[in-house]
């Protein structure tokens, strides 16, 4: 267990803190949006869905580049925040959180939306027919009936944020104890040819990702089994 003392855990702590904050913010923002998308017949829905899915298909460096432009001192937003509140977004942890929210947005929205869409629409209508508002229907009827999708959305968004590299490097750089998250730390270690340490870091992330996926699939398997026995 000597290697435990050998490891600098701050990058992991930063990664998990970043992921926890991102998932919390995303849950609040993405939940009503996913609910709206699932119930909407708006002609603008495909456009909004395409924008939501963009981070999945865009190279992280492209997204990171635009995020950097948006958050930098020269942008309207960056300039305003820096002048008014002395908040610097580029190459800061706060900037990383904002960039991660954009990057992981589809991983929260899509499982929730597909969960809501898979619900029996008559069940939703039944809630309206007994006088419940859309808000109440979401909390008391829709959300409790999409637990596997909810778990998938939260866990995958968390794991995806922990594993992101390109966007965080572009927006946050590689500042120790501030923006050097685990994935960036591995890149840094490989650059200085410290393969032994990089191996341990990569192993920890591999184990983490695998465990998370096993938990998600196990929960969903158990859920299907339970519903299956009823049918």
């Amino acid at each position: 267990m000597e290697w435990l003392a050998y490891i600098e855990w701050t990058p992991f702590w930063l990664s998990f803190k970043l992921a926890a904050l991102t998932v919390t913010i995303l849950f609040v923002v993405a939940l009503p949006f996913a609910w709206w998308l699932s119930q909407s017949h708006s002609r603008f829905k495909p456009i909004l869905e395409a924008i939501t899915a963009l981070p999945i298909v865009l190279p992280p460096s492209v997204l990171g580049f635009y995020m950097l432009l948006l958050l930098s001192h020269n942008s309207l937003l960056g300039h305003f925040l820096e002048e008014s509140f002395n908040i610097k977004l580029a190459f800061s942890f706060t900037g990383l959180v904002i960039a991660s929210c954009f990057y992981s947005f589809p991983f929260m929205v899509q499982p929730l939306q597909s969960g809501f869409e898979s619900l029996n629409q008559h069940m939703i209508e039944a809630s309206y027919l007994i006088g419940k508002s859309s808000h109440m229907t979401l909390w008391k009827v829709a959300l409790p009936n999409i637990k596997p999708s909810l778990l998938t959305a939260v866990i995958i968004s968390f794991a995806h944020t922990v594993g992101e590299f390109g966007v965080v490097l572009m927006v946050g750089g590689n500042i120790p104890h501030q923006t050097r998250v685990a994935s960036v730390a591995i890149y840094d270690l490989v650059e200085v040819m410290d393969y032994e340490k990089a191996n341990i870091y990569a192993g920890v992330l591999l184990l983490f990702s695998f465990t998370i996926l096993v938990l998600v699939y196990w929960f969903n398997y158990r859920h299907k089994l339970r519903v299956g026995t009823v049918l």
């Binding site: 029996n120 069940m123 039944a126 309206y128 027919l129 006088g131 508002s133 409790p144 009936n145």
Partner: protein, 218 residues
Amino acid sequence: MLKIEIEKVLHGSNGSMTLSVNTTVNKGDFVVIMGESGAGKSTLLRCLAGLEKAYGNIVVEGEVWQDGSKTLSIQKRNVGFVFQDYALFDNMSVKENLLFVNTNKSLAEELLEIMEIRGLSERNVQFLSGGQKQRVALARALMRRPKLLLMDEPLSALDPRMRHKLSQKIKELHKRFDMTTLMVSHDVTEAKNLASKVWFVESGGVKEYDKVYLEEIY
């Protein structure tokens, strides 16, 4: 009295057609709506409940639910609606399904008693048979003491014995709760047993007959 003057464009496998309904229903009537699949029977119920938009006027016991200038939301219409596929809240028990409507415990108890499902009140609805589920759905629909009960083929997914039993329950509840009821059905025996009026939806319109006509032609 229920006054319906609506028009709704239907998009079916044979193209588009306009369903035009102009009729009235007396308070306490039990109307069984029959007709071919795709004729617009379910759509008519959904328009009355506010689940689909239609042009025209709907007035229920003097209260305007819809006219040219306003449309009452689904939540405010106070209809009881029973779906063919039950549409129960799967995350709740039988009792919770009823008490989610409102907290009138004595009414919930009364309905569970009438529907003979009191012994199942704590059970999750996912673990019920089709007949039990539909009894819960019917009880839930009555928790707001609706003026109007709308049922879209509520018995068609059930076996003949349960169909007969539930149709008796529906008849009993219709009288006991003093409702106006509209029910879509394909079953002539059911219609003969329950209806005071029969509507045939065909060729984009509604033809109205009384029960005697149904007994003559079948």
